[in-house]
């Protein structure tokens, strides 16, 4: 270490010592003010953080709870026993209506088709039908 570096070091040490001393010898009023500021800052943060933590837990449960409640209500409304009976009855009624509608449509098709209508009104058709059925009965008997 050169003499100049040594002088720099000595100067730095003296400055540091002097500054440290200036902190130690701070007047009582300033020391109290600093301690008061520190306490105020920490007290402000301390309860708030505790509150935040509790509120965070509570807040986190709100959407989860709401979702669970909605899901439960939906399940109860959609799959309630009354609704199941109703829907079964409704389905049966619907099927019966569908069957009637099918017959009506078939009749309507029959009447609207001129060829089919001619066939059904021709007496020879029924004679031919009897013959065919009689032949089928004989074949079945043999």
């Amino acid at each position: 270490m050169t003499t100049e570096q040594s002088q720099f070091k000595t100067f730095e040490t003296k400055v540091k010592t002097s500054l440290d001393e200036s902190v130690i010898t701070l007047d009582k009023e300033t020391q109290q003010a600093l301690a008061s500021i520190r306490q105020k800052v920490l007290e402000k943060q301390h309860p708030q953080s505790r509150l935040n933590f509790n509120t965070w837990n509570f807040n986190a449960l709100i959407p989860v709870g709401t979702f669970a409640l909605c899901a439960l209500l939906t399940v109860l409304i959609v799959y309630s026993p009354d609704n199941v009976d109703d829907s079964t009855q409704r389905m049966a009624a619907q099927q019966s209506v569908n069957h009637e509608q099918y017959e009506q449509i078939a009749m309507l098709e029959l009447f609207t088709n001129p060829e089919d209508l001619e066939t059904t009104t021709d007496p020879d058709f029924y004679v031919w039908m009897d013959e065919v059925l009689a032949t089928e009965d004989i074949d079945n008997a043999v």
Partner: protein
Amino acid sequence: MERDFDKQYLSMNHFLADIEGRAFRMAQIATGNRDDALEIVQDTMMKLVQKYSHHQTSEWKALFYSILNSRILDWHRRQSVRNRFRSWLNWSDDEDEAVEDALAQHPIDTSHEPDIKLQDSQFMTGLNTALSALPLRQQQVFLLRVWEGLDINETAHIMQCSASSVKTHYARALEKLRGELEDYQ
């Protein structure tokens, strides 16, 4: 969880109690005003506790001084704007001028007193005056390096400048201070 929180509270309390005096002196040297210095320290503590208390304890020091230096810089900016308004409106603050004059014309007693305490006291007074007279960046770099014992990279990180800038600021500050305090040594 509660125990962790109390532990963090105690750590932060210990950290702030250790650093508050030096932070106050730095702010006081930078502003030349006790009340402004206290306000700056309060803002710094508040921000550290609110925003960075969850960081690792080893990071607190650098964060604290980053905030402190930023607050001091803000204070200087505000003062500069205020002074500009004053000069436009031709306001003269006789009290401030009187204080400045008193500081500027304060006779430096260079006589060698046998009392070491008095010498130290004179050195401290001279140091305060010399530090306050330094440009802000030089002042901050010098205090962080010498007083806080931070290395060049840590100081550069806090000051948000390059390592070479830190070296330059430090060298200039050291040279000026040695020149100013030559008579007290």
